[in-house]
């Protein structure tokens, strides 16, 4: 064994040094959040204080809550005023009619015939197959022990044409499907002051359908269906031409659109959970001055769409896991003068897609682990993004033009690799959130297969030094070094 050990060891050691040096050289200027983060590099150091920062989160969250609350107040005022609440829930003075097997009325329709305005009908547990029922007087229809109203897959179930009707405590199932008529479990037409609460809706075509109604309250309903095709399914809660309607604490799943608003004014959509619907979790059109807060929209076919509306407030909602070739956390199209604040966007193919929308303010949102965090087309102008957290998205911002008519200022970008020598909490170098590769993928989608490859990283560095394709003016001049604290206001 005459092996020249010292010499060999030296050669090998030299090779390792060269190899590691090469490696570091190659990796050092990599721009994305996926680089090797060696201890002490400024990128990792900047993330460390984030944990401490959450300590002050409480205070910030409180401030924010007040802001949101302020905006909420004008709408909440409706609840206090008479129209929404039935005028006499406690001091009930009308007649009570009991319906049930062995009671005075065996059928609900009998009780409906004899009841006068102001009466209450109490329906005992049972299975009622009575064809379509119409409530044309101001009564309360209360289920006790979850009576079942069956549409038998043929017809609509309850239709309300009177004011101040209350429906509570029923299981409504199997309203009929029709190509011509929108059969719903509960239809309210041209009336006001209705209250629909604590019902369970199962496997209906449309769930709750309000047309030309105002000052209504729809809450605590559990609405489920198992639709498989858009063409043969209806919406969970459908609001058409309504004013001052509140939709609260409902759970909607398996419909075409979870909640659908068209020509709604002053609507308040609060604390609902809309998930796994075929198309949109919330579909919002021509509905000005409306407000939605604290809702959860998860795993819907195409996420949430807000279109052709003005003065909308969207705050503290969660947009989660909306996946698909045309799925958005939030699609805003032709929307003006609205506020999108304190929302959480996580795991969506495209978190926010903006098309032809102007003067929107996006602040204090958290965009995390989305494919594309913000896709903003150049026909959207004067939008303002500030104090948002962009965290671990594959692409942070993409647009379709080299012009940039929008403003990004003082956001936190986990992909930012600058430094803060002044120590004022904002990076000394501007951040360019639009990556060359996102441009390439936009024009040649097949190039997606090169995602996270070394070659693409090299191109990105070159582009960053000398921008040729990416919009030169789309920069954040004051990128934050640490996440915007805020706790979890949506929780």
């Amino acid at each position: 064994m005459s092996r020249d050990r010292p010499r060999r060891a030296r050669t090998v050691a030299a090779m390792i040094v060269v190899g590691i040096a090469l490696l570091l050289l190659a990796l050092a200027p990599r721009p994305e959040g996926t680089t090797i983060e060696l201890p002490g590099s400024e990128a990792t150091a900047s993330e460390a204080p984030a944990a401490e920062a959450t300590a002050s989160a409480g205070a910030a969250a409180a401030t924010r809550a007040t802001t949101v609350q302020d905006t909420a107040d004008p709408h909440q005022a409706h609840e206090g005023h008479a129209p929404v609440a039935p005028s006499r829930p406690e001091a009930f003075t009308g007649t009570e009619h009991i319906v049930g097997p062995g009671e005075r009325h065996e059928r609900i329709s009998d009780a409906l015939e004899v009841a006068d305005a102001g009466d209450r009908i109490r329906v005992r547990a049972g299975h009622y197959r009575e064809g379509p029922l119409t409530i044309d007087r101001s009564i309360e229809l209360i289920g006790e022990g979850w009576p079942v109203l069956d549409g038998e897959g043929e017809h609509s179930i309850l239709t309300v044409t009177a004011d101040h009707v209350r429906i509570q405590g029923f299981i409504l199932r199997d309203s009929g499907f029709s190509h011509i008529r929108d059969h719903a479990a509960i239809t309210v037409e041209e009336s006001h002051g209705c209250r629909i609460e604590h019902n369970r809706l199962e496997n209906n075509f449309f769930g709750i359908y309000l047309a030309r109604a105002h000052d209504c309250l729809v809450r605590h309903n559990d609405i489920r269906s198992s639709a498989t095709r858009e063409a043969t399914s209806g919406n969970g809660i459908h609001l058409w031409d309504v004013d001052r309607v509140q939709v609260e604490d409902n759970h909607i799943t398996g419909h075409r659109d979870g909640i659908y608003l068209e020509f709604a004014r002053n609507a308040v959509i609060r604390s609902n959970r809309s998930e796994a619907n075929l198309r949109y979790g919330l579909h919002f059109m021509f509905s000005d001055e409306s407000f939605y807060v604290n809702n959860v929209f998860a795993r819907n076919g195409a996420g949430v769409a807000v279109m052709y509306s003005r003065d909308v407030v969207m705050s503290r909602n969660q947009f989660l896991d909306n996946w698909g070739s045309s799925a958005y956390g939030l699609l805003v199209k032709e929307v003006q003068d609205s506020l999108i604040e304190g929302n959480l966007f996580r795991g969506n193919t495209i978190a926010i897609h903006s098309e032809g929308s102007d003067r929107l303010t996006f602040r204090l949102n958290r965009l995390e682990r989305n494919g594309w965090a913000v896709k903003i087309l150049a026909n959207s102008q004067d939008n303002y993004f500030t104090a948002n957290n962009f965290i671990d998205n594959t692409f942070d911002v993409i647009t379709n033009s080299r012009q940039n008519p929008n403003t990004f200022d003082a956001n936190y970008w986990s992909q930012y690799r600058g430094y803060d020598l002044e120590g004022d909490g904002t990076g000394d170098l501007a951040h360019r959130p639009v990556r060359l590769f996102s441009f390439i993928v936009e024009t040649k989608p097949v190039a997606l297969i090169l995602l996270r490859s070394f070659f693409v990283d090299i191109l990105e560095v070159a582009e960053r030094v000398l921008p040729i394709l990416t919009p030169e003016t789309l920069t954040d001049e004051n990128p934050l070094m640490t996440e915007v604290p805020g706790g979890e206001p949506w929780a």
Binding site: V12, L27, G347
Partner: protein, 262 residues
Amino acid sequence: MNTLKIARYQLRDVMRSRWVLLYGIFFLLMTDALFRFGGSGERVLLSLMNVVLIAIPLVAIVLGTMYLYGSREFTELLLTQPVRRRSLFLGLFTGLALPMSVAFVLGTGLPFWAHGGLAGGTGSSLLLLLGTGVGLTLIFASLAFLIALSTEDRIRGLGISLGVWVFFTVVFNGLVMLAIYMLADYPMEKPVLALSLLNPIDLGRILLLLSFDISALMGFTGAVFRRFFGSGLGQGVAIGAMAAWVVIPFALGLRSFHRKNF
């Protein structure tokens, strides 16, 4: 039997020269640091992915070439003994690939275990990462042997190794990009998939992408890739291609080892 003996000897020799220890410590320190600064297991995996795809091929091919040149006298000595060339080659290969794989798996796996980063679905991703890393080690060690056997000149051999590494990490993807732009009028999803099978680093990257960047891969094109590699057939093809990448250079190396006139 002889294979094992030779491998054991080479193992001891490799341990004594300590580079494999350094290699393991490199992974250990880095993974640990990523956990301390970066946070969640998922994030660490994403950062590690780049290291695995770039560092492992580089180290394996450069060290592999040097290792075989370094073992030249030992090889010649053993060839004077009644030892089959096949056993000798296998022993030499095991002596390199085994410690490198173990160093990588332990260096990456231990911090994960220690920091409890295996919670919530990252376990399978980690396994995939480790599998890819070991696969790349085997592939580039085989390539290194092939290169070292084909040229006598050490400097030239080293040059070729670096060239091969640059080709697979950078140049190949450049050519793919060029093809995408030049043939933009044709549906390129399937040809691009086929191309990716020709590069083991790309293959590893795409397999890992499918477990990390799901959201970005949900667009139309992403869905095509996902459907292919997500299906039983696609995974079979991918694993088969990986295996072919180990077996073919290894077999070629063995053949030239048999024929070589030392």
